[in-house]
Amino acid sequence: MNDFVSTYGFLFVSMILGAMLGLSLYLPLMAGQLSLASPGFYALGGYVAAILSTKVFQVKEPFPIALLLLEMLIAGIICGLLGVIVGVPALRLRGIYLAIATIAFVEILRVLALNLDVTGGAVGIFGIPQPFQSPIEYLWIVLPLLLISMAFVYRLEKIRVGRAFIAIREDELAADSMGINPTYYKALAFTLGAILAGVVGAISAHFLNTWNARQGTFDASIIYLTFVLIGGSRTFLGPVLGGMVFTALPEILRAIADTPGLPVWLAQFLRDGRLIIFGLLIVIGTRFFPQGLVTPQLLKRRSRSQANR
């Protein structure tokens, strides 16, 4: 058991982080906005934590949990503010144009991170202090965080604000005519996603021990998109399960590639062709499962009206 945990502890935490990143993309999607900005806010949140913990706080290891939580809070606030600043103009764009604009945003942050001194340039920031002895202990932070975010989105889908999001997703013009301000609610959904991505970034910076410009890239945008599109874009469980499964998938593929007797090219493809496989899954998945694998129908929503008669 101990062996298992030490081997897979890193993977478990990564899977939970993946689930939350899926949720961060799902939030704007609730309001019908295909935003790929999450990796940008994730990277920013990570830099906030990396800079604070290596340059500002200057404490001995183990890094205090309270400071870690403070960093997550600060990262969330900064990403939330930037989310509003970026979201309000960007959300004037629709559909694929918004997606492209958010990719541009991610690229801008990446280039900035590569070239600024404070982010450590191309090398990044090393030796981010550890609050825990081993990777698996990060579960103490990330598991409650995942449960809170899941509960948050679960509740959101059932309340006034969530209904406004969903109305905009279903028909923005009709929602507008029903008194819902689309600009406000789109920006709100986008900002909630930005905050979550930023908080996840902050904890990830510690978890990965080092943070650099490879953290927020176009590749990551596509991977997070896979979480949601294949996992399911109509219920929060979709991105959560998608994020977990697809974070684990490269490991699973690697294990399959190690089975003896496989042709060399196939083993190679399974090991290194992760993005190709994700791309194929997006194409095939959206063709055959337009709402993803986990759909509300699948979950057989309980009748909502019973209680009110």
């Binding site: 029903m178 008194g179 909502r304």
Partner: protein, 268 residues
């Protein structure tokens, strides 16, 4: 073109206009969809808007509800200019509508459709909502029971949890009316509410429209192609042709208007 407006405004002198269009014009490129249209609608009226296809009726509705903005002219609601407002701001002022090509939230249940439209009458935000703090729970309860009442009114409460897209056409139109009523409007715009209904359903709809006017103190604007329904239901009728207002007045006068007969009603 002279605008035959005088006669009818005299008969309604005792009422105040709820809606007023002043020289309303909308161009789409070279096409003038609505051309210098002026009229006013009085409180409590059922006001019909008829005309051949492409006459600019729906464009006029879109101008009233802010989906598009006029190229020239003004739209006034209770004396305030609303031509520059966005749709949600106009909805908040008390003007609700249905759509010619039904725009329900197709994937959501009938109940959710009507709950969504109570947005402006509730206040709870992200945190009060998620944490279930006041006023969220009470609002939620109220929103839900109000939605049921409205579904009951249009006769759909037994299918409240069904997806809107599963309803037959006529029921979808009724659901759209329930959704519009959830805004608690003072003006209701119905864009071809009887389209696709059989004569029997049309008669029921006619009665229903009168009933809701009474019950909710509504002023109703109505686009409809079915002439007998319009003539029987409306207090006044405006006729549009190629974007221009060619007649306005009570049904009997409009029916015998020479220009209207030539443009729209046709000669027997």
């Amino acid at each position: 073109m002279p605008q035959p407006q005088l006669a009818d405004s005299i008969s309604n002198l005792d009422r105040t206009p709820v809606l007023e269009a002043r020289g309303l014009t909308r161009r789409f490129g070279g096409l003038i969809a609505v051309n210098n249209v002026s009229f006013s609608v009085n409180e409590g009226e059922i006001f019909g808007l008829i005309g051949p296809n492409g006459a600019g009726k729906t464009t006029l509705f879109n101008l009233v509800t802010g989906l598009i903005h006029p190229s020239n002219g003004q739209m006034l609601y209770q004396g305030d200019e609303i031509s520059k407002l966005r749709p949600h701001q106009i909805a908040k002022k008390g003007i609700a509508r249905t759509f010619q090509n039904i725009r329900l939230f197709a994937d959501l249940s009938a109940l959710e459709n009507v709950m969504i439209a109570q947005h402006i009458h509730t206040k709870s935000g992200v945190f009060t909502g998620v944490l279930g703090l006041p006023p969220a729970p009470r609002e939620e309860q109220k929103t839900r029971s109000r939605a049921f009442e409205l579904l009951e009114l249009v006769g759909l409460s037994d299918r409240a949890d069904e997806k809107a897209s599963n309803f037959p056409y006529g029921d979808q139109r009724r659901l759209e009316i329930a959704r519009a009523l959830a805004l608690e409007p003072s003006v209701l715009l119905l864009d071809e509410p009887a389209a696709g209904m059989n004569p029997n359903e049309k008669q029921q709809l006619s009665d229903f429209i009168r009933q809701i006017r009474q019950q909710f103190n509504l002023t109703i604007l109505l686009i409809e192609h079915h002439v007998p329904l319009v003539m029987g239901l409306c207090d006044r009728i405006a006729v549009l042709n190629f974007g221009q207002l060619i007649a306005i007045g009570n049904p009997a006068d409009v029916k015998s208007d020479q220009a209207v007969i030539e443009a729209y009603l046709g000669t027997d």
